[in-house]
């Protein structure tokens, strides 16, 4: 491999693509050519570096300098100053949200420094389209190791010893799943990767597939060897076209290098992969629904047992793991179960990738050891809440999870602690909310989501969530009664125990957790007909400040309902009963005398 004196890593994650990283990459290639640096400086398009809201971002090695919001017009200066003269371009450096101080080096920025990257070990570092770069980072070493030195049983034992648990949500021990599939009778078995990352707010699976697809391919081949399968499927959401494209490319390369296909690495083990693209149904993230979808059917779940490990795809024993779970496997095989166990907590070893989004300064992907507290993630890595607003809640687990509040900030996060707090790990979406978010409205939002995505097969989910949604809408419109809260809780408990699949069983969680943690806010909507966060429009009131009103009469003329009256040159009044809250008056008032409370 050729040696260069410097590497320029340009983030090619989905976030940076939308802010124009391709143009930055092209400009770098051109400028480096123009300055005759082609033999000295290598430009690499990587997967997601993680700081999505600062894009396009670049990293320059060997120093490890991190530049944010780089535009094509900045490139010439970076090349001439940094790469030729060795001077850092200060104006493009990262600024700390709290102090505003600039930090030049990648490994000194809290957002990166506090991470422990296992699943994301190559994401943002290598070019995902070049298999040699993966191999240079010990890629396919684990596959070679198990094929030549381990029996399938030993592989399973290693995974069991590591204590790895499913990163897709429920946290089932991965090694046990492998063992069940291995022991299930059957001549034909399958390995399936669940890349139907449907939880809104989670995008780690997307980043892994886009930034390090070979780690998933390698892990699936290892799993195939362990459980006795020769065929695998990756089921990817249709919303992720770039992930599909990079994965397709990686599969082809892996075949060309003999890492997939017949007689892998010269052994008698054969394994191949196929991609199946979803078609926009959230329920397909549920494993039995996903299998139905691969079979070409409507993605409806079915009762378990039988579990997929004994009767899965086309009735054959099938191992299903999530993308992030798979991405951990090669690292565990290479470094050993003991190493993995030392990271994280006793019951949840290893790390977890969180997708930080919402009202937080640094949004993006972070991988931290299990047991890290919410405060560390939001306030240290995330840099706190923007605009000096107050932290209100963090939503984890998507539509299946719940909201954590200030009192949970210092609890170490793992599968158990989140369940105890009335939420769940889910796939790792972590959405921060501030005082401007209404928790009743958030609960309504999630119910609307599950109601819309309910496949309709079982009654509790199809009709139960509909009834819950109707009650929530009533409350946000100021028509709620106090007994509605009891009714919501009763419906929630019934749905939890009677729905067919995980989607329905967990659908009431956002409602239960917000009632539990924000009961006062519900009561403000019900008793006082007020929305403290000023989100629920029906509960807001337009009023005229008599000190600011000059009595020009514009509002009264513009009001479509003739709800405003008064005499010229004297303060006007709004008849609240006639007001339809269209907001025209506020928009038209030349003196800013109208406010919304």
């Amino acid at each position: 491999m050729k040696l260069y004196r410097a590497h320029v890593l340009v983030c090619g994650g989905a976030g940076c693509i939308s802010t124009g990283c391709k143009a930055v990459l092209d400009r770098f290639t051109n400028e480096i050519k123009a300055h005759n640096l082609e033999e000295e400086v290598h430009v690499v398009e990587t997967g997601c570096i993680g700081t999505c809201d600062l894009g396009p971002v670049i990293l320059i090695y060997p120093e490890g300098v991190f530049y944010k919001e780089v535009s094509p017009d900045d490139v010439q200066e970076i090349v001439e100053e940094h790469l030729i003269k060795g001077r850092i371009v200060n104006r493009l450096l990262y600024e700390q949200p709290a102090s505003g101080g600039q930090i030049p080096y990648y490994d000194e920025i809290d957002f990166f420094r506090k991470q422990k990257r296992i699943a994301l070990r190559n994401v943002g570092i290598i070019n995902p389209e070049v298999i040699e770069e993966y191999i240079a980072r010990d890629g396919y070493f684990a596959l070679g190791k198990v094929l030549t030195k381990y029996t399938p049983e030993q592989v399973i034992q290693e995974i069991k010893d590591s204590g790895l648990r499913g990163r897709g949500g429920a946290g089932f021990p991965t090694g046990m799943k492998w063992e069940f599939t291995r022991k299930a009778p059957g001549d034909k078995k399958y390995v399936v990767c669940n890349a139907d990352e449907g939880d809104p707010g989670a995008f780690m699976d997307r980043s892994i597939l886009e930034g390090d697809p070979h780690s998933v391919i390698e892990a699936m081949a290892i799993a195939g060897y362990a459980v006795g399968a020769n065929q695998g499927f990756v089921y990817v959401r249709a919303e992720y076209p770039l992930a599909v494209q990079r994965l397709e490319n990686a599969i082809e390369k892996a075949r060309a290098f003999g890492m997939l296909g017949k007689n892998i690495l010269g052994t008698d083990f054969s394994f191949d992969l196929e991609i199946r693209v979803g078609a926009g149904a959230f329920v397909c993230g549920e494993e039995t629904a996903l299998l139905a979808s691969i079979e070409g059917k409507r993605g409806e779940p079915r009762p378990k047992p039988p579990f997929p490990a004994s009767q899965g795809l086309w009735g054959k024993p099938t191992l299903i793991n999530n993308v992030e779970t798979f991405a951990n496997i090669p690292a565990i095989i290479n470094n050993g179960a003991e190493w993995f166990r030392q990271i994280g907590t006793e019951k949840s070893p290893g790390t977890k990738v969180f997708a930080l989004a919402g009202k937080v300064n640094n949004t993006g992907l972070v991988e931290v050891p299990m047991g890290t507290t919410l405060r560390e993630i939001i306030f240290e890595l995330g840099g706190g809440i923007p605009n000096h607003k107050r932290f209100k809640a963090a939503q984890t687990g998507g539509p299946s999870g719940g909201c954590l509040t200030e009192k949970h900030l210092d609890e170490p996060i793992d599968y158990e602690s989140l369940l105890a707090a009335g939420s769940m790990m889910g796939s790792g979406g972590l959405i921060v909310m501030d005082e401007d978010n209404c928790m009743v409205d958030v609960a309504r939002f999630f119910l609307e989501f599950t109601q819309d995505e309910s496949c309709g097969k079982c009654t509790p989910c199809r009709i139960g969530t509909k009834r819950m949604l109707e009650i929530l809408i009533r409350i946000t419109q100021g028509k709620g009664e106090e007994k509605d809260l009891e009714l919501l809780e009763e419906l929630a408990q019934t749905i939890k125990v009677s729905a067919l699949c995980g989607l329905g069983q967990s659908a009431p969680n956002p409602v239960l957790s917000t009632i539990q943690n924000f009961r006062d806010e519900y009561l403000a909507h019900i008793r006082d007909k007020k929305c403290p966060a000023k989100v629920c429009r029906a509960l807001l009131q337009y009023s005229i400040n008599s000190e600011l009103c000059r009595g020009c009469g514009i509002c009264a003329r513009e009001c479509p309902e003739k709800a405003i009256s008064g005499e010229p040159k004297k303060p006007y009044h709004i008849n609240q009963e006639a007001c339809i809250k269209c907001g025209v008056c506020l928009e038209k008032c030349p003196f800013d005398a109208i406010s919304l409370t």
Partner: protein, 165 residues
Amino acid sequence: MTETCCQRFSEKQYQELDEVIAQYQGKPGGLIPVLHRAQLIFGYLPKEVQIRVAEGLNVPLSEVYGVITFYSFFSQQPRGRYTIGVCLGTACYVKGAAEIVEALEEELEVKVGETTANGDFTLMVTRCVGACGLAPVLTIGEDVYGRLTADKIPEVLKRYQGTAE
């Protein structure tokens, strides 16, 4: 039936579909990949295309119809030249995606699910596109626009308006 279908679509389109069908014939689980490709070829999946797929793969038409109506990606109605998908995932929602939808509805004079009269845009809402760090986000075709506010909408749309041949 063949007559009406071939007035609307060209023989070349059908040939292309037949080639896709031939690829998946006899392979289990081929229906959804075939429908994906068919939608790319025809733009949507009207009845005559469904019949062709059903006959080609030897599955009942009811099954084809059942699958199409289950998945939100498949459409039985023609769509505009560009499909706008406003992300209504959680991160986008808490950062004001509802206002983006309103602004688009006003600007394009359509409701969600409808196509503009000139056939330029179909307005849809989507679930998380996985660009949560840039919320609120919308997609037009395969382009992603992030950190939006309602007043940026006309500018974004302008890049696509009047681009028809």
